[in-house]
């Protein structure tokens, strides 16, 4: 009887292989094609393909009551490829470096300042809200592109998947409201807007910056690449330091 029940349950739990790698690839490519065909910049940010892919898969898993662990083990190959992909980020970083040699000092300095600010603000909020250590580590590296955030958060002992979701939300908010904020603050300089967008709102913000003006987009791309490198250097040192002096 017990055996029968077990086999019945395992038959009811469908094998998830189709929902992992094939589904992720098809969904992502389809949503990206849709996103790329949209011209309106607000609509483009709202239909961001990374945001939609993650939301759709999360909704499916939760609503169909499918275990995440099974989904994760089926898509292990993709997660494994994230490591060489991060190494490959050195290429855009190198390409951007050659563009900004003359402005490099100011951009590196402000970009670092932005990253320190993001980590400190998140840390102060975690003290204010009395958040558990695991959550406070999860919000330490949010001012950077998702793969770097994942891996830095992991090394700090935070929940990397939560950090990834927050990073994407921050990118969306920046893309939607960032330029309104610049208007309110009376800042119209292309370099100011671009570097701020790239530092704070990474790829999603950069896409909005490119739509705003090509020059703003160029500065945003530079800042996004730099903030990947600078976050990797600054946050693993800064966060333990903050924990030591403030907790």
């Amino acid at each position: 009887m017990t055996n029968f029940t077990f086999s019945a349950i395992s038959e009811l739990q469908p094998n998830l292989w189709w929902l992992s790698i094939p589904f992720i690839i098809v969904l992502f490519l389809a949503l990206r094609a849709v996103n790329q065909s949209i011209k309106n910049s607000v609509l483009k940010s709202l239909t961001n393909h990374v945001f939609l892919s993650i939301s759709i898969i999360a909704l499916l898993l939760v609503n169909l009551n499918l275990p995440y662990t099974q989904f994760a083990s089926h898509s292990k190959l993709l997660s494994w490829l994230l490591e060489p992909a991060i190494v490959a980020l050195a290429l855009p970083l190198y390409q951007q470096f050659t563009h900004v040699r003359k402005n490099l000092l100011l951009i590196v300095a402000t970009c670092s300042l932005g990253i320190v600010n993001a980590t400190v603000v998140a840390f102060l909020l975690s003290i204010l809200f009395n958040a558990p250590a695991q959550l406070s580590a999860s919000v330490a590296a949010l001012s950077v592109t998702t793969p770097i955030s994942l891996i830095v958060t992991d090394s700090l002992g935070g929940i990397s998947s939560l950090a990834a979701a927050l990073v994407i939300f921050i990118g969306l908010l920046g893309a939607l409201f960032g330029f309104m904020l610049f208007k309110l603050a009376n800042i119209f300089n292309h370099e100011s807007q671009g570097v701020a967008m790239g530092t704070a709102c990474h790829a999603i913000g950069t896409a909005a910056a490119i739509a705003e003006h090509p020059k703003v987009g160029a500065y945003s791309s530079v800042a996004m690449a730099l903030s990947a490198l600078l976050t990797a250097i600054i946050v693993p040192l800064l966060y333990p330091f903050l924990v030591n002096i403030l907790l």
Binding site: V87, P92, L125, S143, S155, I168, N186, A200
Partner: protein
Amino acid sequence: MKYLLSSAIILLCLALAKLIMHFIGGSFPAPLLAMVILLALLLSGIVKEQHVKPCASPILNIMPIFFIPAGVGFIEHLGLIKSHWAFLASVVVLVPITTLLLVSSVIAYFKGRENND
């Protein structure tokens, strides 16, 4: 052949970084160290852009596919997210606002607020 060379460079950097982290210990992520190593090789001219490009470009083009599985993992922590939603919401709002304002104002201080180009 060019794909082989390109993937070999990337994987060698990764392997070297893992080896270094294994010996010095600590929690610094090895892929990030590998990225810095590859950047140093590119900047010093030891590795040329066209050597890395054949594999790096397609990988970067579909990069989000590699972190979508990890990103979905937040559904394992829905309880924690629910009980700290106010904290998380204020982080998501205040971190980008303060960072955007700080970075743009500092550059505007040096370069002016208006468009000068």
